[in-house]
Amino acid sequence: MALGSNNARQRAREIHQQAWESLPWYANGTLEGAELELVENHVSTCVTCRSELKFLQGLGLQIHSSDALDTSAQQGLSEIMSRIDKQLGAAIPTHNQPGRRLIIGRFANLLRIPSAALPRVLAAQAALIVLLVGLIVVSYRSDSRATFRTLSDPAPISQGLSTQIRVLFVEQASEKQIRELLLEQGAQIVAGPSPLGVYTVALTSDLDPPETEKILDQFRSRAIVRFADRSTTRAASEEAE
């Protein structure tokens, strides 16, 4: 009988200790499940814990309202963007650049295929897009020159395409949407996708920076484009590898 009573007292002490330690998170409302239930039940019967809870709530209120910091993010932002620019200037993006694993993971989840196989699948998709774009160009040119080409003929090499941009399409973009956008902008995929899923797209002629920026804005304004930016020769050649 006495043993049972001792056990009950011991258990009550343990519950009190457990509740006491969890009180700060009961006060900030983040306790869950059985722990929340235990603390709630205990607090309703324990005067000591109720008093401590009151103190902790007051402490939290004081800490929460002591935020008279006058911080300006703008200065820090300028500095960090300048650091990033320097880094980007020093290192052209490579296949190890940030984002690779994340993007590959996203695509893999979407397509329900293993991440490791995704580059090959994307490469196959790119080949298909290049082939389709090639077919359109072949079709267009064969009309104007009245020449005959078979499906196995290679796509014509574009002599005048020199300004290049990098484009990442959203995961849901269909081949038809991509094709329409490229045709509308007189652009052509010349390389990609990179491991990040980025395509190198050549524009119709050698454009000056403001003209290129206009075309980029056109790309960026489309819902199917996640990211579009100027390309460098080196980046383009790396993606083509």
Partner: protein, 195 residues
């Protein structure tokens, strides 16, 4: 909705989208500034540490596995970066368990008097400055940033029970450091939740 937007931002940062990074920077600057300042107590270091943290985020955004809240991941980076800086500045011992250190209480009892809200906050700031950085981080992450203790464990890289232990010692210390009058005032305000 907010969490989804943040996830969208970090995905864009992972492909080096500068606009997304700028938005994320502005979203987190104030919270990180406050946390790092409270944790380190070094105003001269804060801006630099905030930018070091944000640079890590720019470089390693693809490592965010989406297994936790984005803010938990970012605060974890902030905690480790600030800790490293404190250690290099010789403000914190290299040992892993700062809670085992004996802390000497140098505070003197304050005379009882009517305290204004401002004075109360000053007393609290003084008291918080006297507890260990590890304990302060736990207090700040709980009371200001509203994290659960498992999330704090993730941020500071220790077992959940260690978080509870640090908080337990912090509470004891704060009670000793705060004069009786201020404790009474804090009690009076402890009605309802602040979050």
């Amino acid at each position: 909705m907010k969490a989804e937007h943040e996830i969208e931002l970090i995905r864009r940062v992972a492909i080096q989208d500068r606009l997304a990074f700028e938005e994320l920077y502005l979203l987190y600057h104030r919270r990180l500034f406050r946390f790092i300042l409270r944790y380190t107590q070094r105003l001269d270091l804060v801006e630099e540490v905030v930018n070091d943290v944000m640079l890590v985020i720019w470089q390693q955004a693809d490592r965010f596995g989406e297994r936790s809240r984005l803010s938990t991941w970012i605060f974890g980076i902030a905690y480790r970066t600030a800790l490293k800086r404190l250690r290099s500045a010789g403000r914190i011992p290299d040992g892993p368990d700062i809670d085992e250190l004996e802390i000497v209480d140098h505070s003197e009892p304050e005379p009882d008097a009517e305290l204004s809200r401002k004075q109360l906050q000053e007393l609290l700031a003084d008291a918080l400055a006297q507890i260990s950085p590890e304990q302060r981080a736990v207090v700040e992450l709980t009371y200001y940033h509203g994290y659960s203790y498992p999330e704090i464990a993730q941020i500071v890289g220790c077992p959940p029970n260690t978080v509870k232990t640090r908080m337990y010692h912090a509470r004891q210390r704060l009670k000793k450091l705060l004069p009786q009058t201020s404790r009474g005032l804090i009690d009076q305000q402890g009605v309802g939740s602040w979050l």
